[in-house]
Point group: C2
Chain length 201, copies 2
């Protein structure tokens, strides 16, 4: 049982590393098995298809993200709007570490797959849609707290949180395109402007 669990975990970890550094289409089941030291038959015991592996991997990545960066950024002892800035600072640090180790900024593992796969695989698209929608939740809660604390005018916090997730995805993509985490520090502070009431032009 424990060895089975280890094998599955090894496949998930390997898939996570390979897909994050490259792309869904570029990484095959054979390469994942080889790198994880797992036989192909074993792979298909755990995952009926590559898509099933990716769905399990996305769930694992999302749980990790929640338990590390999100938990840290949205700690209750930080004033609401500072949490959003802290989220970006933690992402900056993550990309800096990754680039120091690999030479590359890999961007957002969810955004990367969403860009590559959303028009090609409906199951993967739905899962990514749900994850990015879950990502809005702590941001929306924080904006509501900021409104309650008088840090922010009364706004539509749901729409503002969705705008912030879109912006964060855009920042990750631009940091990747520039291969430079500094993009997040330079452009990050503007995120709070997305919580302003849009002016009528």
């Amino acid at each position: 049982m424990s060895q089975l669990h280890d094998t599955k975990q090894r496949l998930l970890n390997t898939a996570q590393d390979l897909f994050y550094a490259r792309s869904y289409e570029d990484v095959g089941v054979q390469e994942i098995c080889q790198q994880a030291g797992v036989k192909k038959g074993s792979f298909y015991h755990f995952f009926p298809s590559k898509r099933d592996l990716v769905i399990a991997m996305l769930d694992a990545s999302w749980n990790q993200f929640r338990e590390t960066i999100l938990r840290d950024a949205f700690a209750i002892d930080i004033p609401p709007l500072k949490r959003i800035q802290r989220l970006l600072e933690l992402q900056y640090r993550h990309h800096t570490e990754t680039r120091d180790k690999t030479g590359h900024v890999f961007g957002c593992p969810f955004g990367n797959l969403a860009g590559e796969m959303s028009a090609q695989d409906e199951v993967i698209r739905q899962r990514l849609k749900d994850i990015l929608s879950d990502f809005q939740v702590p941001i929306e809660r924080t904006l509501s707290e900021a409104v309650a604390a008088g840090e922010l005018a009364e706004i539509d916090t749901h729409t503002a949180a969705a705008a912030m997730v879109a912006y964060i995805e855009g920042l990750s993509l631009m940091a990747k395109t520039n291969n430079d985490p500094a993009v997040i520090r330079q452009l990050g502070p503007a995120i709070l402007g997305l919580a302003a009431q849009p002016e009528k032009v």
Copy 2:
């Protein structure tokens, strides 16, 4: 001469459609040749490699984008800040048309490739970086005009334009992930908030 030009153009158009609907890795030279009705030898006469084709295709796509959506959005007879809103409205219309035709929102052709390829191919990354940096230019000019016209407070227009490009890329990605162009209409108006001075929190 004209037939050679036609063949090259057909390869570029086919590549544009296939890569936009799927991904770099998922589309091979053979499929492009078949769909364009061009022999493989002919392909390699025009493009030494798939990467060379993609670079030429990116240049063609960028020129098209400039001569259609950008020209239309940044027409000089529209007040500065309205141009930025018009840019988003034109993107909304493009995604709506594409979804009506194909059932899918494909997002931004540049952002898609940037997400997939930036950590894998340095030549493609550099070209995409340059294109997305060129995309900032009309936005920055427009923000400067808005400042001069008193529509906007004195701001760092360079940084604000970079933030807006990141946001536009994020919106395209979220519209793709949700397979719903309406994302752009719902979240688009917040873009002008990125031109506000970031508040100190």
